[in-house]
Every structure is written in structure tokens, then in C-alpha cells.
């Protein structure tokens, strides 16, 4: 498949070649069909988007330092509205949705599965370029007129009133939707048809189960977003009239369409994060995951139930009371599978051998933050309290605890976990742990005050606020800058490791999943010989080998020693 782009292939492959060194030059990356390189490119792309979105967030927070609207002279009403819109749109469409599936998932999924690549490598590359095009659309919107509709593009403001370039951003989101569909489709087919012999469904690591559940949502929900955005664009450009009350349409219908996608999209964001946490907690407790099947099925349950609860974003929108009540009861049903996962993770730690390596620190932060995020969801699912809390900072804090405290923290944890595999370098453990501590503390400082200010009545998306809310805003802003610093520190730790890190062994953590059986970084075709598929959580199958400073498979001990001895002598 890759011959035309990888000239190195005409020569016999040297054993020390890995996917990073197999071929060189810009074009060898730009037209690569290797899932690992595409994953790395996605990683760089989504990280850039996160940096941009984070920068916008910091400007927003800085503006809120005082109730006086001129804290930052250049942030006017309009600029503020554009900042929070673009912060939301960039973070959701460009960062969180593609972050774990497209960046980490692309890299890890085939290796973890024991396959040579995803089923459709060209489609995979196409997905990445669609992401780039979508990103360009967003950046164009940002640089021309901005966008001030909120990331939800609610009609009729977005179709009739907004003076900004809504159509450009809409097409950007539309294209990103297809990028996401392509990734999801690829993953489903890969998991169905590319499993090597011995890899049964219930021998798949839980990260794969969660990616599979995520892919189902991506494939089923994203087309509805696509059509909604097309209708929105047609409405704005031609006056189609479907969502415009002046032409007989119904703006609430738009909200139904939008949330039919965007609520399942919440699970596109959190499910893969849960998968990562299952891997991390099991590996660093050196214990098989507790209740494997319950966790696997709870992922599927979340994926399916996630399609039935979109109306809980609209409890005050004027939908009928009966519909509201039904959505409320369905919403509570989603909380059960999430609770199951949390309990199972805890039980995995019981009687384990826990080491607080950097990825585990992030995983435990996740457990703390996600529990808060999940439990505060109960306040919003209950009808009477939601009426009070809807569209206040309480909601903002809730979804940041889930999206950022959950997904982002798990993503960074996963990045630290697989970093040695991806780059072949170990990072500085001490500074990695420090970064996780700062992120954890700063995160709570940023978003906990927002719960209080929300339930006290501070509406979201407000440029000005009443003086009584100032103390919470100040705390939140201090936390936000500290959080920015913590994330920057994590980035520095990783980047420094590229230049100064020790060479990573094949299996530094002692995990039993397949990706640790190949070298770090993996060779171009992932495995020199077909890997042995066993129980992915059988920690007893690997033992620490002080010679190579790596974990090795028990059965391999003599052979590895045999190979290692002559090298030493």
C-alpha cells in the first residue's frame, strides 16, 4: 500500500528501523498511509488546537478579573462573545472529539489489536486532511469576522441576526463531522475484520471496547449533525425557512436536531477517556481489571443510551412537559453505567500493587474529577433543580469537570502512558508527577467556584456580571492561569524528553496488552512476527527484567537473556 510513498522500501528493511526512521522527508509524512504517522500528525494538530482554544479561554478568564467590563481594553462585548464562541467551537470540534480517538486511537488501536494497519489507510489519511480543511475554515472565520453565535449555532440568532461569518464556520464543522465519521467507520471495520487469530471480542483490551463504542456513536450521530448544519447554512444563505419562525419554521426543532448529535458527541468525548483509565488503573495496580465484562458492556450501554437523552439540554426551551419528563428519566439511566465503571476501577485498585507513576497520577485525578462531574450531573438531570441551574455557570462547571477534568486529564494520562511507545523516549518522572499535581489543584480552583456562582444565579455567556459574583470569578481566573501553567509544564516535560530522554524499553510499565510486545517505537508493520494473543490483563505473564530495564514476557526470559548476553560481553 505504501510503496509509492516510502522509497525506503526498495531496500531491505533494517531491523533497527522503526516507523519514524523508515523513511524521511516532508512528503513521506504528508502522504503517509501508516496509521502511526497519521496518529502523530493528528496529535500535533489537536494539540495546536488545544493551545489556541486554551489561549482564548485565558483571555476570557482575564477579562472576568473585575466586574468592570474594561479589564482588558480590547475585549468589548463583541470580542467577548466571539471569544467564548470560538473557545467552545475549537475545543469541541477541533480538539476534544478528535483528540483521543483520532490521535491516540489511530496510533494505538491497530497495534493493540495486533493488526498491521487500520482497514482503510487512505480513508484514514483523508480523515486527517478533512480535519485540516475544517480547521482552516475555523481559522478563516476567526481571522475574518469571527463568530459570535455560541458553539451551538442556535437559530434564529445564527441565521438571521448574527453579522459574523456563520456559514464559513458551519461548513468547517460539517467537514470536521466527515473527518470524524471516517475515523469511526475505519475503527468499526478494523475491529470487526482485522483481529488476528486468538483475539476474540472478550480478549480485546477495554480501550478498544471504548473506541468501538465511540465509533458507533461517531457513525450514527455525526450524519445528523451534517444535515443540521447544511439546513442551517441553507437557512442563512437562501432563507429556507425550516428553522425561522418568521417563515413558519420552528427554532426549537433546530435544538432537537443539534442535540441529537451533540449529546451523543459528549460520549464521543468521554468514552475513550474511560477506556484509557481502565488501561492505566489496571497496569499501575498490576492487577487484572475488575469486572471486565461489566466495563465492556457499560461502554456499549452508554453509547446506546446516549442517543435517547438529548432533550435534557432543552428542559427550559419550551418543549412539551411530557417530553421533558421522559427525557429526565432516561437521563438518569445513563448515570448507571458510568457509576459501574467508577466502582470497578476502585475495585481494581483493591489489593493491587499501586505505583504512582505520572500516568497513574493523572488517572487518579480523573477518578476524583470525573466523580464530581458525574455527580453534579444529577442536579441537572432532576427537573426542578435544572430549571434553576440551566444556562448558569453551574452547567459550565459541570461540563468542564467532565470534558476537561475527565477527557483532557485522561488524554494527558494516556499520552504520558504511550509516549515511550510513540517516541521511544522516557520522560522525567518527577516533573511529570509535579505537572499532574498542579493540573489537579488548579483545575479545582478554576471550576469549583463556578459551581457556587452558578447555583447563586450567575448566567453563562455574560460579559458583565454583578459585583456579588466577583470573588468567585477572581478565584476562577487565578486557577485558570495556574492550570495553563500546569499544562504547559506537562508539554515541556514531554518535549524535553524527545531530546534528553532515555531510550524507552519495549514494555516500561508492565502492561500485558499487545502494543507493549513490539519495540518502542514500533516497526513500520507493527510486529516483526505475529504477536501472541493472551488475556490482555494477565499481569503475571510479564515480569521485570533488570537487564533490559523493561518488563518481558515470562516465556521469553531465556531467549531474551540469550540475545542480551552476547551484546553485553
Amino acid at each position: 500500500m505504501a510503496t509509492d510513498v516510502m522509497p525506503a522500501h526498495s531496500e531491505p528493511a533494517r531491523p533497527e528501523d522503526n516507523y519514524l526512521t523508515a523513511s524521511r522527508g516532508f512528503m513521506s509524512w504528508a502522504v503517509t498511509l501508516d496509521h502511526k504517522r497519521i496518529g502523530v500528525m493528528y496529535l500535533i494538530g489537536t494539540m495546536t488546537a488545544m493551545f489556541l482554544g486554551g489561549l482564548l479561554a485565558l483571555v476570557l478568564r482575564a477579562e472576568h478579573l473585575s466586574g468592570n467590563p474594561n479589564t482588558l481594553p480590547f475585549v468589548t462585548h463583541d470580542v467577548y462573545n466571539q471569544l467564548f464562541t470560538l473557545h467552545g467551537a475549537i475545543m469541541v470540534f477541533l480538539f476534544i472529539i478528535p483528540s483521543i480517538p483520532a490521535a491516540l486511537g489511530n496510533f494505538i488501536l491497530p497495534v493493540m489489536l495486533g493488526a498491521k494497519d487500520v482497514a482503510f489507510p487512505r480513508m484514514n489519511l483523508c480523515s486527517f486532511y478533512l480535519w485540516i480543511i475544517g480547521a482552516i475554515f475555523f481559522v478563516c472565520a476567526l481571522l475574518t469576522t469571527g463568530l459570535d453565535t455560541g458553539w451551538t449555532f442556535y437559530t434564529p440568532y445564527s441565521t438571521n441576526t448574527s453579522q459574523t461569518n456563520v456559514v464559513l464556520a458551519t461548513f468547517g464543522a460539517f467537514i470536521l463531522g466527515f473527518s470524524s465519521i471516517f475515523t469511526g467507520l475505519n475503527f468499526i471495520v478494523t475491529i470487526h475484520t482485522m483481529r488476528p487469530p486468538g483475539m476474540t471480542w472478550f480478549r480485546m483490551p477495554l480501550f478498544l471496547w471504548s473506541l468501538y463504542a465511540t465509533a458507533i456513536i461517531q457513525v450514527l450521530a455525526t450524519p445528523v449533525l451534517g444535515i443540521t448544519l447544511l439546513l442551517l447554512a441553507a437557512e442563512r444563505m437562501f432563507g429556507l425557512g425550516i428553522f425561522d419562525p418568521k417563515l413558519g419554521g420552528d427554532p426549537v426543532l433546530y435544538q432537537h436536531f443539534f442535540w441529537f448529535y451533540s449529546h451523543p458527541a459528549v460520549y464521543i468525548m468521554i468514552l475513550p477517556a474511560m477506556g484509557i483509565i481502565s488501561e492505566l488503573i489496571s497496569t499501575f495496580s498490576r492487577k487484572p481489571i475488575f469486572g471486565y465484562r461489566f466495563i465492556a458492556f457499560s461502554s456499549m450501554a452508554i453509547a446506546l443510551l446516549g442517543f435517547l437523552v438529548w432533550g435534557h439540554h432543552m428542559f427550559t426551551s419550551g418543549q412539551s412537559e411530557m417530553v421533558t419528563i421522559i427525557f429526565s428519566v432516561l437521563t438518569f439511566s445513563v448515570s448507571i453505567p458510568s457509576a459501574i465503571k467508577v466502582f470497578n476501577w476502585l475495585a481494581t485498585m483493591y489489593k493491587g500493587s499501586i505505583v504512582l507513576a505520572t500516568p497513574m497520577c493523572y488517572a487518579l485525578s480523573f477518578l476524583f474529577l470525573f466523580t464530581i462531574g458525574g455527580l453534579t450531573g444529577l442536579f441537572l438531570g432532576a427537573l426542578a433543580t435544572d430549571i434553576h441551574l440551566h444556562d448558569t455557570y453551574f452547567v459550565v462547571a459541570h461540563f468542564h469537570y467532565v470534558m476537561m477534568g475527565g477527557t483532557l486529564v485522561a488524554f494527558i494520562g494516556g499520552l504520558f502512558y504511550w509516549w515511550p511507545k510513540m517516541t521511544g523516549r522516557m520522560y522525567n518522572e518527577f516533573w511529570g508527577q509535579i505537572s499532574s499535581l498542579i493540573v489537579f489543584v488548579a483545575f479545582n480552583l478554576t471550576f469549583f467556584p463556578q459551581f457556587v456562582m452558578g447555583s447563586r444565579g450567575m448566567p453563562r455567556r455574560y460579559y458583565n456580571y454583578l459585583p456579588e459574583f466577583q470573588v468567585y470569578h477572581v478565584l476562577s481566573t487565578i486557577g485558570a492561569f495556574l492550570l495553563g501553567f500546569g499544562l504547559l509544564l506537562a508539554a515541556i516535560v514531554l518535549i524535553v524528553s524527545l531530546f534528553k530522554g532515555k531510550k524507552a524499553p519495549a514494555n516500561p510499565w508492565g502492561a500485558a496488552t499487545l502494543e507493549w510486545q513490539c519495540t518502542s517505537p514500533p516497526p513500520l508493520a507493527n510486529f516483526e512476527k505475529t504477536p501472541t494473543v493472551g488475556n490482555p490483563y494477565d499481569m503475571n505473564s510479564v515480569v521485570w527484567d533488570p537487564d533490559t530495564e523493561s518488563f518481558i514476557r515470562r516465556g521469553d526470559v531465556p531467549t531474551v537473556k540469550d540475545e542480551a548476553t552476547p551484546a553485553h560481553s
Binding site: 469486572g291 419528563i325 429526565s328 470497578n344 489489593k351 500493587s353 430549571i387
Partner: protein
């Protein structure tokens, strides 16, 4: 110290009949969540310390699953959340079932102001309601989505263009409370805030903050051309009052600066350029037409954004507004 605890108090005061129930549900969920949270984090920290890795020592084996326990912690939370749902549901049904005898107020939301119309024909920019009486709001939007939110009443409802939205509440205390728009509605969304003034129905109940009874306030508000004692005001003073009530100054400045619409100051009696119709003298007739049919003659350099006030402004009110505009030239 009290100040510190005050900061952690999650709620504004309870000033409607719903508030205590909503807060009770909130605290119920809060303590339930707290229990689970403390248990989860407690076990997490305990395991972290108790089972930390000791070099060279493999963990003792423990079961990889235990179906009775797993079923238990799936089913028990299920019952708990059903309980939460039930309580929230009953509270919600109360909030959505206005009593038949409720006092009705029409609400008109537009970018970025609230206007309240009362059965007597009075119009105000703050919501004035009687205490201890159910009030039903019949809301409509002139442009985009808005949402009316009174934190002290724990009440909120979106205002959707193209249809009437309804909500109700019963205030329990005389006082002045915040009223916010909580559905993003464009540039000055955060300025779309006003107050709810809860009046006493008897003179004994009045406070320093709200010193009129509801009837008294209604009497004055129904006739903006009179002062508080019921004496006719000078026409231009009454005009100023009307300009405030209708919040004309949101778009028309009174100091000559250009806002969304032309300024009230400095244009009267001059010829102004009209889109497609040449020059027109800005006189009484022009102002009157602009109030009733704003898009008929558009001043060059401005967008036709003004809504019509036909049916909202009585003829004599328009006279007063014209008198006011003349007075500030």
C-alpha cells in the same frame, strides 16, 4: 467568619413558593452525592497508601470479578436516581401548572430589553408584581431566543420567537430581585438584566426599598403623563419618563452621539437624508411616523432595525416624546 460561610452558601435567598422545595431537592442530591464522593475518594486514597508498590513483591491474587457485588452496585444507584427523578419530577409539575386565578403579565423580550405589559395597559421596564399572589407571565420574543430567569424565585423559561411561552411563580417576600436573560441573544446579552419589584398589597407591608403598594404603583404606571401625586406633568418631563420606560436610549443617544439609531439631539428641525427619498424635514410628523412605521423612511447611514411601536404608544404619549425630543435640542 459568617462572611466566609456566606460565600459557600450555594443559593440566593428563597423568595418564591418554589424555592424551598428546589433547595430541598438540591440539598438531598448534594448530601447523597457527598456520601458517594467521600466513599469513592476515601477508598481511592486508602488503596493508594495501603497497596502501594513494594519492589520485588507481587500483589496477592484477588478475584477479577464478583457478580453479586457488581449487580448490587448497578441496581442500588438505579433506585436512588429513580428517587431523585421522582422528586424533581413532582417539583417540575408544580412549576409548570399555573393556578387559574393567577395575575397575568405580558412579557415582550427583544434584543436587549425586557418590557412588561399589565392588564391595566401600564407598561414598565421592570417587572412589578404583587406579593403572595400567583403571577403568570405570557412571554413573546420579537427577534431571537431569550430566557427569563429570576434566581431568587428559582424560575426560568426560554422565550421562543413565533410562539407564546408561559411561566408562573408566587413571590413570598416584598423586595427587589435580579432578573436575567439566560439564553445567549447577541452583543449585549449580559446587559439584558432588570429587576423584579415585589410590592406589598397592603400599606402596612411596604418596606423602605419598595414603599408603594402594588395598587398605588399600578395607578401611577397606568398614566405616565401624571406625577406620583396624580398631577399632570409638564409634557417634556412626561416624555422623558416614557423614553426611559421604552428604553429608547438603548439605540438613540441624547447627547448627539451616533448609536444604532440617530441621536435625539441635534437633528430636530433639520433636513435629513432618507434612503431613496431625498431630503425630508425632521418635524413632528416625521417623528410620529418613525415611531409607528419605522421602516417607512430610513435615515441614510442607519440600518432599518427599529421595531414599530404601533399599539404600544398612545397618541398623547407620542406627543410627550416629541415634546421631550424638542426640549433637548
Amino acid at each position: 467568619m459568617t462572611q466566609f460561610w456566606n460565600l459557600l452558601n450555594p443559593f440566593p435567598g428563597q423568595h418564591s413558593t418554589f424555592a424551598s422545595n428546589v433547595d430541598a431537592i438540591f440539598y438531598f442530591i448534594f448530601w447523597l452525592s457527598m456520601f458517594f464522593f467521600v466513599a469513592i475518594v476515601g477508598f481511592m486514597i486508602y488503596f493508594m497508601i495501603k497497596y502501594r508498590r513494594v519492589e520485588g513483591q507481587e500483589p496477592e491474587s484477588s478475584p477479577s470479578h464478583n457478580t453479586p457485588i457488581e449487580v448490587a452496585w448497578s441496581v442500588i444507584p438505579g433506585f436512588l436516581v429513580l428517587g431523585i427523578f421522582w422528586w424533581g419530577f413532582t417539583g417540575y409539575v408544580d412549576m409548570r401548572s399555573p393556578p387559574a386565578e393567577a395575575y397575568e403579565v405580558n412579557v415582550i423580550a427583544s434584543m436587549w430589553q425586557w418590557q412588561f405589559k399589565y392588564p391595566t395597559g401600564a407598561i414598565s421596564d421592570k417587572l412589578h408584581i404583587p406579593v403572595n399572589r400567583p403571577v403568570k407571565l405570557i412571554m413573546q420574543s420579537k427577534d431571537v431566543l431569550h430566557s427569563l430567569y429570576v434566581p431568587s424565585f428559582r424560575a426560568k423559561q426560554d422565550v421562543v420567537p413565533g410562539r407564546y411561552s408561559g411561566m408562573w411563580f408566587e413571590a413570598t417576600d416584598v423586595g427587589v430581585y435580579d432578573l436575567f436573560c439566560t439564553e445567549y441573544c447577541g452583543q449585549k446579552h449580559s446587559d439584558m438584566i432588570t429587576k423584579v419589584v415585589v410590592h406589598s398589597t397592603s400599606p402596612e407591608g411596604t418596606t423602605e426599598e419598595v414603599n408603594q403598594t402594588f395598587e398605588r404603583w399600578m395607578e401611577i404606571a397606568s398614566n405616565p403623563l401624571n406625577d406620583e401625586q396624580g398631577q399632570p406633568l409638564p409634557l417634556d418631563v412626561a416624555g422623558k419618563k416614557l423614553v426611559d420606560t421604552f428604553q429608547c436610549a438603548q439605540c438613540h443617544s441624547i447627547d448627539g452621539t451616533k448609536k444604532v439609531g440617530p441621536s435625539f439631539k441635534g437633528n430636530y428641525g433639520k433636513e435629513v437624508e432618507i434612503v431613496g427619498q431625498g431630503k425630508v424635514l425632521m418635524d413632528e410628523n416625521y417623528i410620529r411616523e418613525s415611531i409607528l412605521e419605522p421602516t417607512a423612511k430610513i435615515h441614510v447611514g442607519y440600518e432599518p432595525k427599529m421595531p414599530s411601536f404601533k399599539g404600544q404608544m398612545k397618541d398623547e404619549w407620542i406627543d410627550a416624546v416629541i415634546a421631550y425630543i424638542k426640549s433637548i435640542q
